[in-house]
């Protein structure tokens, strides 16, 4: 088996890298794929909490590279899907505990037995980011409809290119269709025009995400959730399916009238 490694990164913090990683990973596992999620945010780990596996951590990625345990010992099996694994970050160390070469070798080894290796990158463009991208075949950039986040995403695209990671794809997270309609938020088209890369998916702003991350149960597991569906669709697109973007609720009649008479 020859798997694919994908780094999920953003530049800016707080745009939802970790939540997206946990959900896409879960959604790919729901499709029957063998998946490893790597938390590359050493010293500020969160992926374990978001996916609900924090209490199972015995060894972490630093233990693996410093050869205190074998790789298989550090991989934590998910509660729900037996093909989904987490390689947690160390919390009491910092980014310098791992070198790019070590990360590369580690991922190379994992690619032999898994379909997807998703790497959750830390925010920033320093050592931790460079580690996270060093073993990746492809990149997914997460951004939100804010000028600052799009700026940082653009910067990241440039950095990835200079490291030979071409054609990254973008996920636009936390979009609010009501605000876009009122013209108070950047539209998807605005962002794609600036970034000039492929759109992998759009995820709406959703209060339920907060509940699900706090509980450690990815929202992709919820059959009826629109947000869950958006995330599952992203996984299917990664798998090569061609799916149209979901429509984000119908424009309200009042909004249309307001726009017609020019008071919106």
């Amino acid at each position: 088996m020859k798997g694919k490694s994908i780094v999920i990164t953003s530049g800016k913090g707080g745009v939802g890298k970790t939540t997206i990683t946990a959900n896409i990973g879960t959604a790919l596992a729901m499709l029957g794929k063998k998946v490893v999620l790597i938390d590359a945010d050493i010293g500020l780990r969160n992926l374990d909490v978001v996916i609900g596996l924090e209490n199972r951590i015995v060894y972490d990625i630093v233990d693996v590279v410093e050869e205190r345990c074998r790789l298989e010992q550090a991989l934590i099996k998910d509660k729900r899907y037996r093909h989904l694994f987490l390689l947690p970050a160390a919390q009491t160390r910092d980014k310098s505990a791992i070198k790019e070469k070590q990360m590369k070798d580690l991922i190379q080894g994992l690619k032999e037995s898994y379909d997807y290796i998703l790497i959750d990158s830390p925010a920033g463009i320093e050592h931790g980011f460079l580690n996270a991208v060093s073993g990746a075949d492809e990149a997914i950039i997460v951004t939100t409809p804010e000028v600052a986040a799009v700026r940082d995403a653009d910067r990241i695209i440039g950095l990835l290119e200079s490291r030979g990671l071409n054609d990254p794809q973008v996920i636009i997270n936390r979009i609010r269709s009501d605000m876009v309609r009122r013209g108070d938020m950047m539209t998807i088209e605005d962002m794609i025009e600036i970034l000039a890369i492929n759109l992998l998916g759009v995820v709406p702003e959703d209060e339920d995400i907060i509940v699900s991350t706090n509980r450690g149960e990815p929202i992709a597991l919820q059959e009826k959730s629109k947000t869950g569906e958006a995330l599952r669709n992203i996984a299917r697109r990664i798998e090569g399916e061609e799916l149209p973007l979901m429509t984000m609720g119908k424009a309200k009649l009042m909004d249309k009238i307001k726009r017609l008479i020019g008071i919106s």
Partner: protein, 203 residues
């Protein structure tokens, strides 16, 4: 997981490393590198380290010391022979002076000591406490990892005014918090090994 051909034991004044007599220099070097590197499990504490002399040549002893200093400049290795060793089974528990820490531990903070650890403060999720002996917390344990008897003592205990850690380890046994929020009353509790499990009781 553990290389059972090499065993570390805490004694009165130092950590002793025992190995089978026909161990190779390569194996021992690898073991020292793995166990005692800075930042590793045994790497962050100060203690004397003694290795059972299974007939090492002077040359080899220097080589082992060099390897150890390479991974952890604070440590050096002395050698002891089986004759001056305390008989098996009568090894006293490592009686280092208890470490008393008056502060709370936040995520990413870690304390390691060869003997007992007394903490006057709280333990937050993401913090780690690793003691060769008992762990006593005069405060609230709201998460984090507490490890008592870390050099393999299964009779160590963990006591806290409120005990809700992410993970507990005593000696060689690991237990984790239940996945759904647990509904235990507050109040002082003690964790110890009973049979093959870690049990938490009112203190």
């Amino acid at each position: 997981m553990e290389n059972k051909e090499i065993v570390i034991k805490g004694t009165l004044d130092r950590l002793k490393i025992y190995s089978k007599p026909d161990i190779s220099l390569q194996e021992m070097k690898a073991f020292l590198r793995r166990k005692f590197a800075t930042g590793g499990f045994f790497g962050d504490i100060d203690y004397e380290l003694a290795l059972l002399d299974v007939g090492w040549q002077e040359e080899e002893k220097r080589e082992l010391n060099r390897v150890l200093r390479e991974v952890n400049p604070r440590l050096s290795l002395s050698f002891f022979s089986e004759d001056d060793d305390i008989p098996e089974g009568k090894l006293p528990r490592l009686k280092a002076v208890p470490m008393i820490v008056k502060k709370s531990f936040r995520s990413g903070q870690k304390v390691v000591a060869p003997g007992d650890i007394v903490i006057v403060g709280d333990i937050n999720p993401g913090a780690e406490v690793v003691a060769g002996g008992d762990v006593l917390v005069f405060g609230r344990v709201g998460g984090g990892l507490l490890h008592a008897g870390a050099s393999g003592e299964n009779d160590a205990v963990i006591v806290a005014l409120s005990l809700k850690p992410t993970q507990l380890r005593i000696g060689t046994i690991i237990s984790r918090a239940p996945d759904q929020g647990e509904q235990r009353e507050g109040g002082p509790e003690i964790a110890r090994i009973k049979g093959k499990n870690i049990v938490i009781e009112k203190f």
